[in-house]
C-alpha cells in the first residue's frame, strides 16, 4: 500500500462516517464532498511510478525516450473528468437542500419523514 492510497482510504471512511451520523443536511453534503476527494486521491495514486516525471513531451523529454520516463497518463485523464462531475452533482444536491428548507423551514433530516414506512 502506498502512502497516498492510505490517506485516500482514511478520507473515504471519515466522509462515510460523517454522512451517516450527522443530522444537518448541509453537513451530509460536505461529507459527500470529502468522499469524492478521497476517491480521486486513491485513483491518482495507482498511476504513480517512483522517480518518473509528468507525461508531457517537450525539449527536456524526447519523444523516443518517453516510454521509460513518464508516469501513467490514464488515471489522470479519468480523475480530470470526475472532479468536474463531482462539482456539478454537489451543486445540484445543494439546490435540493435549499428547496427542502423553503418548504418546511428546517434543515434537520429527521423532519422529512414522508417517505418512511
Amino acid at each position: 500500500m502506498t502512502l497516498v492510497s492510505i490517506i485516500g482510504f482514511v478520507l473515504i471512511i471519515v466522509g462515510l462516517w460523517g454522512m451517516l451520523t450527522q443530522n444537518n443536511i448541509i453537513k451530509i453534503i460536505i461529507g459527500f464532498s470529502i468522499i469524492d476527494t478521497g476517491i480521486h486521491l486513491l485513483i491518482v495514486s495507482i498511476g504513480y511510478i517512483k522517480g518518473k516525471t509528468a507525461p508531457i513531451i517537450d525539449s527536456a523529454l524526447l519523444k523516443t525516450d518517453a516510454m521509460n520516463q513518464v508516469v501513467d497518463p490514464i488515471p489522470s485523464a479519468l480523475v480530470l473528468t470526475a472532479i468536474v462531475i463531482g462539482l456539478a452533482v454537489t451543486a445540484l444536491m445543494l439546490v435540493y437542500a435549499v428547496n427542502l428548507y423553503q418548504r418546511k423551514q428546517s434543515l434537520d433530516i429527521n423532519d422529512f419523514e414522508e417517505l418512511k414506512w
Partner: protein, 84 residues
C-alpha cells in the same frame, strides 16, 4: 524528503476532515472542506499529475466553496448556530 511532506499534509488533511464534521458552526465546516481540497492539490503535484492539480485547485477550493456559501446564504437562520 517527499515522503515527509506527504505525511505532514496527510495528517493536516485528516484533522481538517474531522473538524469539518464535528464543528458546530456551519461556516467553519465549509472552510475546512476547502482546506482539504487545497492540500489535495499539492499532493497531486507531488504525484507528477499537473493537469489534475490545476483542476482540483480551481474547482475544489474556488468554485465548490463559493457554491456552498451561496447555499448557506439562503438557509441561514432557524435552529443553526451562525456565529463566526
Amino acid at each position: 524528503m517527499i515522503n515527509g511532506i506527504i505525511i505532514v499534509l496527510g495528517i493536516i488533511m485528516i484533522a481538517s476532515a474531522f473538524m469539518a464534521i464535528y464543528m458546530r458552526s456551519l461556516l467553519s465546516s465549509i472552510i475546512a472542506a476547502g482546506v482539504i481540497s487545497l492540500l489535495a492539490s499539492i499532493i497531486y503535484l507531488l504525484l507528477a499529475a499537473p493537469d489534475v492539480a490545476m483542476t482540483e485547485a480551481a474547482i475544489g477550493s474556488g468554485l465548490a466553496t463559493v457554491v456552498f456559501l451561496y447555499a448557506f446564504n439562503k438557509v441561514k437562520g432557524r435552529g443553526e448556530d451562525n456565529h463566526g
